[in-house]
């Protein structure tokens, strides 16, 4: 009985701060304020997102669709880069550096600083007369100019969201039962086989939460494209920010948010499909260790 008391605050919390806001967004998305100030149900704002500017405009050239596909592309790119960088890092942290390593600590330190500040710092680093180019010309290399490009946006996102990829994978790898790996080695698997047939399949849950935790903030971010993209690469997050902060059209802003949420749910469902293999409770996926 006593234990249950401690659950209620969380249920209340989840309702107030997770379920209720989502419901409010949904409510605004499918309503509009009529001429006489009354609230009316309509899918006008949802449809507005997909509507062509002129009859027969190809689907993928429509204004908001262009921005949406661009956002998804940037987010997918960010997620892939984070995975390629993050998995080896998580592996190294878990396998070679022990549990209380200074490396893990150093990896966490930047997170203590404000997110905006870290992004502003990248502006100073990347600008034409910035820190990076000063260093490059010091060692006689040609300078580069990537601020206000999609490269800078992806770089900023990878920098900010990499920990979200590393930590879930790290915690899965860290807790992995070593005897399973030893068993594989005993049965004659070489190092490559051990990695691809034992370690990698067993870390899939960590990979999946890493992928989702990077993809979601990337696809909705608006501060990073604003600062590092210089308005050159507006993403769907910017469109939503614009509606709420500048235009004040909450219905259209909510409709866009709802469309984005639906899309993210779809993609998460798709990722989950990869994880559908039957799995023993505390072992690797069945059929991996034959």
């Amino acid at each position: 009985m006593l234990k249950r008391i401690f659950v209620y605050p969380y249920i209340l919390w989840m309702f107030l701060f997770i379920a209720a806001p989502l419901l409010i967004v949904l409510w605004f998305a499918i309503t509009d304020t009529g001429a006489d100030g009354q609230t009316v149900f309509t899918f006008y704002h949802v449809a507005r997102f997909f509507r062509p500017a002129f009859a027969g405009e190809p689907f993928f050239q429509r204004l908001y669709i262009v921005v949406l596909t661009r956002s998804i592309w940037i987010a997918v790119l960010t997620t892939m880069v984070c995975f390629v960088l993050g998995y080896p890092l998580a592996y190294a942290l878990a396998k070679f550096f022990g549990h209380r390593s200074i490396l893990l600590f150093l990896f966490l330190v930047p997170l203590w600083m404000n997110f905006l500040l870290r992004t502003y710092a990248w502006m100073t680093i990347l600008e034409q007369n910035g820190v990076l180019n000063a260093l490059l010309s010091l060692v006689g290399l040609p300078t580069i100019d990537i601020l206000f490009t999609d490269t800078a946006v992806v770089l900023g996102m990878v920098y900010n969201f990499l920990p979200f990829m590393v930590f879930p994978i790290y915690s899965v790898l860290k807790d992995m039962d070593n005897s399973v790996i030893e068993a594989a080695q005993d049965l004659g698997a070489n190092r490559v086989q051990v990695f691809f047939r034992v370690v990698l399949p067993m870390s899939v849950p960590g990979i999946i939460s890493g992928l989702t935790m990077v993809f979601m903030p990337s696809v909705t971010s608006f501060i990073i494209p604003n600062l590092l993209g210089g308005g050159q690469f507006i993403l769907v997050g910017n469109l939503i920010e614009q509606q709420f902060m500048r235009v004040g059209d909450w219905h259209f802003g909510s409709a866009m948010s709802a469309i984005l949420i639906a899309l993210i749910l779809l993609m998460m469902g798709f990722i989950k499909l990869i994880d559908r293999q039957p799995r023993n409770k505390d072992g690797p996926a069945e059929g991996v260790l034959y």
Partner: protein, 352 residues
């Protein structure tokens, strides 16, 4: 049981804290201003003089401020809208009349800034600062990219020789000033054909510009990051102090002359405190510190008289009557705002 007691204790403590928080009947005003728009050291002085504490927060555009106020997240006692936004807020019944008897320092506000079109009898607004929109340029970089070039027209922002070396101001109404003036149209156009022609010019300009930026333009121009930038006169004054290569002009086609004002939004909880603060900001000495700190032109004649001569004679700080007569002030475009917004998003979404 022990745990229950502990939770009860925490809850009780929370309630006590919450209640004392509400009951502290403090004299406080909530001020919502543009970023970098006053010398924040004067806030403590105001508190020392009057005993009124100031909760100070900032915004980047008129639209952002308007949305915050109307979305119910307001609770502000004093905001600083520009001319067209004052007009819109009056029309939407968002402002409280100001009791000028509480603002004796209004006598220092120059007559030329009082009774302007958006609030003809200054019922709702007290003038704060004013200025123009123009081109900030780096004389050395312009000379290097286009020798002999005279910067005097908006069309330089479409000159391919400056490709990748142009910053545009990240604000809908202001970004459209350049193409509309270049085409000879009003900056307050409600004609879709004129607006779309301006939009097409901005889209054609996209490959040439380095970025659409807000306040970070100042930092970038001081650091020689681009040759040209669309900025407000006050921002130009600020940057020119740090980089002697920088200069500012108002293009010959004319521009937007704007006036920012102090207004008290409906729903303010401390109107008397807000009026005391308006009076404080209208004090010649305080206004002098503000104008020197921000670079934005004062509306206070007594402050103007106190300024050093080189600032008074600086056309960036104090443009001539010809410049002003050749320009327009923004007015609220009403229902047509939606068309503007659509055109603006089309500009931003265009692939550079």
């Amino acid at each position: 049981m022990k745990k229950i007691k502990f939770v009860g204790l925490l809850l009780g403590l929370g309630i006590v804290l919450a209640l004392t928080g509400c009951n502290r009947n403090e004299n406080i005003i909530r001020v919502f201003n543009w970023g970098n728009y006053l010398d924040e050291s004067i806030l403590a002085e105001f508190t020392a003089q009057t005993g009124i504490r100031v909760s100070y927060s900032t915004y980047a555009t008129n639209e952002e401020m308007h949305t915050r106020l109307t979305a119910g997240g307001g609770g502000f006692d004093l905001v600083f809208p520009t001319d067209y936004m004052v007009e819109r807020m009056i029309r939407e019944d968002l402002l409280l009349p100001i009791n000028l008897e509480n603002i004796p320092n209004i006598r220092y506000i120059d007559q030329r800034f009082r009774g302007l079109e958006f609030d003809p009898h200054n019922v709702y607004s007290v003038p704060y600062k004013w200025g123009t929109l123009g081109i900030l340029y780096n004389t050395a970089m312009v000379e290097a990219l286009a020798p002999g070039m005279v910067v005097d027209s908006w069309n330089i922002l479409w000159d391919a020789r400056f490709g990748g070396s142009i910053f545009m101001y990240y604000s809908m109404r202001d970004a459209f000033v350049a193409p509309l003036k270049l085409l000879g149209y009003s900056i307050n156009t409600t004609n879709p054909d004129e607006l779309f022609a301006a939009r097409d010019l901005l889209i054609a300009q996209r490959p040439l510009i380095r970025a659409y930026l807000g306040d970070p333009i100042k930092h970038s121009m001081i650091g020689n990051e681009a040759a040209l930038a669309m900025v407000f006169s006050g921002c130009a004054m600020f940057t020119m102090e740090f980089n002697s290569d920088l200069n500012f002009i108002v293009p010959r086609e004319g521009t937007n002359v704007w006036f920012d004002n102090m207004v008290i939004p409906r729903g303010a909880r401390n109107q008397a405190g807000a009026e005391a603060f308006i009076n404080f900001l209208s004090d010649p000495e305080i206004a002098l510190r503000n104008t020197l700190y921000t670079g934005f032109s004062t509306t206070n004649w007594a402050t103007f008289a106190l300024l050093p001569e080189e600032i008074r004679n600086n056309p960036v700080y104090w443009p001539s009557d010809e410049v002003i007569d050749n320009s327009e002030t923004q007015v609220h475009v009403g229902e047509f705002t939606a068309t503007w917004e659509r055109a603006w998003i089309e500009v931003l979404a265009a692939r550079p």
